[in-house]
Amino acid sequence: MLRRIALLIPVLIGMTVVTFSIIWLIPGNPAQTILGEQASPQAIAELEDQLGLNNPFWVQYGSYIGDLLTGDLGVSMRTNNEIITEIWPYLAATMELTFFAMLFAIIIGVNAGIVSAWKQNSFFDYACMLIALVGVSMPVFWLALMEQWIFAQELGWLPTVGRSDPRAPIEPITHFYIIDTLLRGNFDQTITAIRHLVLPVIALGTIPMAIIARMTRSSMLEVLRSDYIRTVQAKGSSQGIVVYKHALKNAFIPVLTVVGLQAGALLGGAILTETIFSWPGVGRYIYEGISYRDYPVIQSGILIVATIFVFINLIVDLLYASIDPRIKY
């Protein structure tokens, strides 16, 4: 277990080199981008100097690592704010979105998979697997646009974009809006926040949901055919106990792998979803950083997302060990 955790250090160092180099290699002059197309050459030269853009690679990398070690993620060129404080609202928005997307994917996906395996070759099984197949092959942006068109624009059931009603903005405390509105005791706004979550959560959660459903089904089928299940069944346990108590535990290990991978992939999918639904999350933050050539924001944003990804994988690996005592690190 300690070895598994120690492995993090070289991974994290490697990440800083990669993120820093990518930025270094992107062509174009950030000073120009910051000042816009109508800026004078003097102003551009002045800003370049000020930002230290004329220093060599290792000097810039060295000072970057030095800052990181003291917990300084730098200052955004676009806003002049400390990134470490500025990024929190975005991170919270993304975490809220991906948490519910994952919850949606796991609850619907695992249950659909279990029931499909349980009732193999039934109508429900076929229907589920058809939906899963469509779900896997559906591009996120297309699903998102269709949802907006049908449920927001045509039917008017749910809001099109954003995290809260622009006419009654939510005042953030933790920036997790559901928690914030509950803390303030404003339950109308809690409902508003949930309503804003529905469409993006479905858009973002559908692909992992479909993958989890398929994985659960095949894993479950395999387990249901094994000897120990037959033994349990022979003891006369009800089908529900057999499936949910005895089979699920063993069937869940491969599912957990998929859940872990999908949780990471969600961060990628979140950029598209956040763009289409104007969800002010970390994907959008990095995207804006890129379009403004905001070097520190791009670097720190990618680094934070990559770090989260690494930790999700760590948690998944540690969960394996706790579910299946045969796995050791």
Binding site: P27, P30, S40, N80, P169
Partner: protein, 549 residues
């Protein structure tokens, strides 16, 4: 167990339905807290309500002098005011924070009489000292409020008045509490137009002192709306300034600027009533808005030029005959129909049509392929040639779909045996490399900020702009002389004459194909009244109200 699963599914379905049902009354609640009274012409004028204005991107900052993007000035325009203001729908000047101003005989000094009884949002009085502090802050890099070390730059001030020793404003003197004198090094024809640009909004000196470098997130001005809160990439909330100096204004209780990046999502939000007004409607979507009940289209006056520029230093574009041939070979009306959805007028000069000095007598090169062929033959290029056509990678107001425009031009030139290879580069690289002259022919445009011809001609076609803003590398001494004279003349009629003459020469030299002056389009709900889009893209919303019909 079966029950458990069914419960799960039905609970999910039920909660979805419930959530959908909860939405029903939200729309009606939106403006419900407003007093209505009949304004006499059948509609009800609503005092108050909050206008939700959605745009594609967020503001960079809210310090008006330190920003260059339209998304920032659109917001600062509500919070800050300038000494002189533009008329609602044009660049004509009218009173702002100053009620009177006159140039001295020699054009070297202006005394502004300031409006009395105006207070900043923080309660401190607006006076001559405040004007002096603001202008000196932009001009002097060592000023205590310049914040240069924290990355503040005042780019537009530099462009319009000059940087350092080139700064045309020599000194600013406080004559009395409500009189301030600007002393110039040399006359500047566009001085008053410049002062009226939204970038020169006056900030409370007390707020500069209090917030320091955080001033761009804590704006304090004299405008009709006060800053309330800002969530980056989401929304900026402004509230009515109850102590606004203009009696009875503003009508609205507040304005919220929302960011909705995706064009179609923004339109969906408008259609579903989540927002009231949206900027940047795609030309393709105009028909959809016009076909729907309860919505209307707002058009801005064109205040830009979209053009095809030649690198006049490389072959064969160093030959005016070739440049003229291109001018004859491009069907502007066709481009407007295909790319702009008709929302543009064909351009023949580099400045918009209603500008002082726009030369309407110039006859555009007509669309005539035979004539183009003749000119090419005369240049010895009847067999055609190949070149790189640099195409913008991003849509701009003056060029909503650059790739489609480039393909049209490519197709037309192919009829003259000319092969245009479309080159697309990343936006920052594109701007950088055309400044360095790596291109043959490029697409670009320019939008006005102060309604003055100098901002166009003096920037993109004067020799002083090489290297930099003059990317055609066009250099003509006579033109330079005329532009310089126009710049230093204060009398409007004389200035107009200089510009008109310069345009004749530029037209003859043809360093560019002026394509269009585009008409940016907004869409909004028809409960909005009193909204007048300004050509600068930043308008005050103090006259806007929401009505229930």
């Amino acid at each position: 167990m079966k029950k458990v699963k069914m419960n799960l599914i039905s609970v999910s379905c039920l909660s979805l339905l419930l959530l959908a049902a909860c939405g029903g009354d939200e729309d009606t609640a939106s403006d419900g807290n407003t007093d209505t009274n009949d304004n006499g012409n059948g509609t009800e004028q609503t005092d108050g309500g909050v206008l939700i204005f959605a745009r594609g991107g967020d503001s960079q900052g809210l310090d008006p002098g330190a920003v260059t993007d339209g998304e920032s000035s659109r917001v600062t325009k509500q919070i800050y005011e300038t000494l002189i203001e533009f008329e609602q729908d044009s660049f004509e000047l009218k009173e702002g924070l100053a009620t009177n101003w006159e140039p001295s005989e020699d054009g070297l000094s202006y005394v502004f009489t300031l409006r009395e009884g105006v207070t900043f949002h923080d309660g401190t009085p607006f006076n001559a000292e405040a004007v002096k502090v603001n202008f000196e802050r932009w001009a002097d890099p060592d000023h205590e409020f310049a914040f240069r070390d924290e990355g503040y730059t005042y780019s537009v001030y530099g462009t319009l008045f000059g940087v350092g020793e080139e700064d045309v404003i020599e000194e600013i003197n406080v004559v009395s509490d409500y009189e301030v004198e600007f002393v110039l090094n040399e006359p500047l024809g566009a001085f008053l137009q410049n002062v009226a640009a939204s970038y020169f909004g006056i900030i409370s000196p007390a707020a500069l002192e209090e917030y320091g470098t955080d001033i761009d997130e804590n704006p304090v001005g004299t405008g009709p709306f006060k800053f309330e809160s800002w969530q980056r990439d989401s929304s900026i909330v402004l509230k009515k300034n109850e102590d606004y100096w203009e009696e009875g204004l503003p009508y609205l209780d507040g304005v919220t600027f929302s960011v909705i990046g995706d064009n179609s999502a923004r339109l969906s939000s408008l259609m579903s009533g989540d927002i009231d007004l949206m900027d940047g409607l795609s030309p393709d979507d105009i028909a959809q808005v016009e076909g729907a009940d309860g919505f209307e289209i707002f058009e801005r006056v064109p205040n830009n030029i979209g053009y095809l520029g030649f690198n006049t230093e490389v072959e064969p574009f160093d030959d005016p005959l070739v440049r003229k041939a291109f001018n004859h070979a491009i069907d502007k009306e066709g481009v407007i129909a295909a790319v702009y959805g008709g929302q543009a007028t064909p351009a023949k000069n580099a400045i918009p049509e209603d500008y002082l000095g726009h030369n309407d007598d110039i006859e555009d090169y007509e669309y005539d392929l035979d004539l183009a062929k003749e000119l090419l033959a005369e240049a010895g290029l009847e067999d055609g040639f190949e070149f790189d056509l640099w195409t913008m990678p991003v849509a701009r107001p003056y060029m909503p779909n650059p790739m489609r425009a480039a393909e049209l031009i490519q197709a037309e030139l192919s009829e003259l045996n000319i092969t245009a290879n479309i080159v697309e580069k990343e936006w920052a690289v594109y701007l950088e490399e055309i400044e360095l002259g790596y291109h043959d022919v490029f697409m670009l445009g320019w939008s006005g900020v102060n309604g003055d011809a100098d901002y166009f001609l003096g920037t993109i076609l004067h020799t002083d702009g090489i290297p930099g803003s003059n990317q055609t590398f066009y250099s003509n001494e006579e033109v330079d002389a005329l532009l310089d004279q126009a710049k230093r003349t204060v009398d409007p009629d004389e200035r107009a004459n200089f510009y008109e003459e310069a345009q004749v020469l530029i037209h003859e030299d043809a360093p560019m194909v002026p394509l269009v002056h585009s008409i940016p389009v907004l869409a909004g709900s028809d409960i909005i009244s009193g909204y007048v889009p300004h050509p600068s893209t930043s308008e005050s919303l103090k006259h806007v109200s929401l009505t229930n019909q």
